[in-house]
């Protein structure tokens, strides 16, 4: 005899739960394959990385990372013979390829540039975006709609369309290949997105909260910091992630405007390919490294992000 148990008509049944869970996990696994492949490749030796059929099981090696962090020079066997025994680690790996380490590569300065430029411009864009959005949300700004449209209109074309004028201007005022120049550029691109996203979030915060705070003895600035900012945290976090991802990944301007001092990771990574054969493990190692900050940042803000990207759909 079958037993009938009462269940809600809107809550999913256990079977539906399991099926939907399985679908989500399967989809997640599929989307993660390329990432997993990159990380795996970074631990392969160059021959393993181009083996056919591709190797799923392999002996892990740090050769990719050694090659990424160093520059090497090929030596004659006689010269190598004459050297003292290599130290274990990168030294030994490099020696086994008939090379010696000539010095550190540019990866650390490039990575540092990426961090400074991406986080710097994200901070600026979100900061400016927040106060601008607040002003548009709360005050009677003359021609507010037109100004907001103008801000949005900077997004109507791909930013690269203005690459040549910017290149010429930057050269003229000495901003080419500088951290400041890149931070300003990415901020300019991101600030329109930030203003529009954040205005939506701040509009949703009832102004009664600030009014209550002002009655309670706070100035408007205090009320903004104590009452608006905490409630806009979700929107600020979501906006920060969007801005960071753009600035972190941006390639076209970086190629055009940076060559040394301020070069970021995106133009640097393809540069690795050209250095003495196609060193895929080194490229994969660079990519893996490149993924980490975004990964960490997103994990840190995930609580906010989840609410942030579904904003409008979920009422408080």
């Amino acid at each position: 005899m079958s037993k009938t148990t009462a269940h809600s008509v809107v809550a999913p049944t256990p079977t539906a739960r399991r099926v939907s869970g399985a679908i989500v996990i399967l989809y997640a696994l599929i989307t993660m394959i390329p990432l997993a492949w990159i990380v795996m490749t970074s631990f392969k030796t160059p021959p393993d990385s181009i083996a056919y059929p591709p190797k799923v099981l392999f002996e892990p090696s740090l050769e990719g990372y050694c090659n990424l962090f160093t520059t090497r020079s090929r030596q004659t066997p006689e010269y190598l013979e004459s050297l003292p025994a290599p130290e274990p680690g990168c030294d030994a790996i490099v020696r086994s390829r008939n090379m010696v380490i000539a010095g550190p590569s540019n990866v650390i300065p490039r990575f540092t540039n990426s961090i400074i430029i991406a986080f710097g411009s994200t901070f600026l864009a979100v900061f400016l975006g927040t106060i601008t959005a607040y002003a548009f949300s709360r005050f009677k700004v003359p021609f507010a709609d037109d100004i907001l449209f103008f801000i949005l209109s900077t997004r109507f074309m791909p930013p690269i369309a203005v690459a040549i004028p910017i290149f010429l201007m930057y050269r003229a005022i000495g901003l080419s290949d500088t951290h400041l120049g890149m931070i300003l550029l990415y901020t300019a691109v991101n600030v329109s997105l930030a203003v529009w996203l954040l205005k939506g979030f701040i509009d949703e915060i009832p102004r009664e909260y600030e009014e209550a705070a002002m009655i309670d003895g706070y100035s408007r600035l205090h009320a903004f910091v104590k009452v608006v900012l905490p409630q806009a945290a979700t929107g600020i976090a979501a906006t920060a992630i969007f801005c960071l991802i753009f600035a972190w990944n941006e390639y076209a301007f970086a190629v055009l405007l940076t060559s040394g001092t301020a070069q970021t990771m995106p133009p640097f990574i393809p540069f690795i390919i050209g250095e003495g054969g196609q060193d895929w493990p080194a490229v994969a190692a660079a990519t893996t490294l490149f993924l980490i900050p975004i990964f960490v940042f997103t994990i840190l803000l995930r609580k906010h992000l989840l609410r942030g990207i579904t904003f409008g759909a979920v009422r408080k």
Binding site: E208, E211, A213, M214, I215, D216, G217, Y218
Partner: protein
Amino acid sequence: MAEVVLSGVTKRFKTVAAVESLDLTVHDGEFIVLLGPTGAGKTTTLRLVGGLERPDEGSITIGGHDVTHAAPAARDVAFVFQQYSLYPHLSAYDNLAFPLRSPARRVPEDEIRKRVGEIAEMLRISAKLQNRATQLSGGEMQRVAIGRALVRRPSIYLMDEPLSSLDAKLRSDLRLELKRIQQDLGATILYVTHDQTEAMTMAVRIGVIESGRMIQLGTPREIYTAPASVYVATRLGQPAINLLPVGLLPDGGAPTGGKTVGARTENLRIAKAANGSANATVDWIEHLGDQNHLHVTVGDHKLVTLADPESDLAKGDRVSLSLVDPLYFDASGKRIAASGKARIPQGNG
């Protein structure tokens, strides 16, 4: 506590005047209720006193100081909003402590703890102090919101329909509570509502507002028994006052110029009609438990009055209706005294 005076205050939004040449004096320790329908300008009046709006004309003084152009923080007022009353990112305790931690006050933390504790006790929310504001029920939230005003001793408490989002039971509990607290503290309160029961039970004086103008200001009893106009009369009384043309029903004789008769339940005598004396028909009866609403048709006019639940009136019955001391209004809607035995309103209600 202090006296608050509004003189000739006008506030326009674009071309619409939300408040127009409003004069109002709230005496020290007085509980004034502003009564009027949505959009009458009650909330704008409160916001003007609180400094959330600046008047276009007129002046506002609190305790003798002209605060017409002062910032909200500088006015020493407390405001209870109709909704969105608590800071959602803070606990109930921090919400109550918020005004005391403001740069304008900076009360020491142990003093804050003491004051918050007392108020929480008074409002019976002590057990919920550590809850996040969003984890409170509607009634608890509103009590915390009222508490946030009460932790301070401002010149005046401004309350904008603080009970309107609550259920009936809680509303009547808090109504009594608020009145008791007001008397205990000797607080000056300007309270806005469209609920006549709140106005009648709590107010020392009621101000009836229409389209931004103060139509009548007086004790609840004055407003009820001697309304200045049809508009004021329709604000009070449950069921609402019945407005009929003079002469439709027998009365003690209308004064000259009287065009409209206002009849509340207590002004109507109803009796089962004996043969030809019937002038009305019972349409239907709403049973509300403690009382019955009787819907009656007289000619083309419909009336609502109360009937004793024990009465044996039934739908379709022919009845005779007559008026006892009704209110009379002239063609412009102003009340005119009844001829002969005009009722003199009693002062201080």
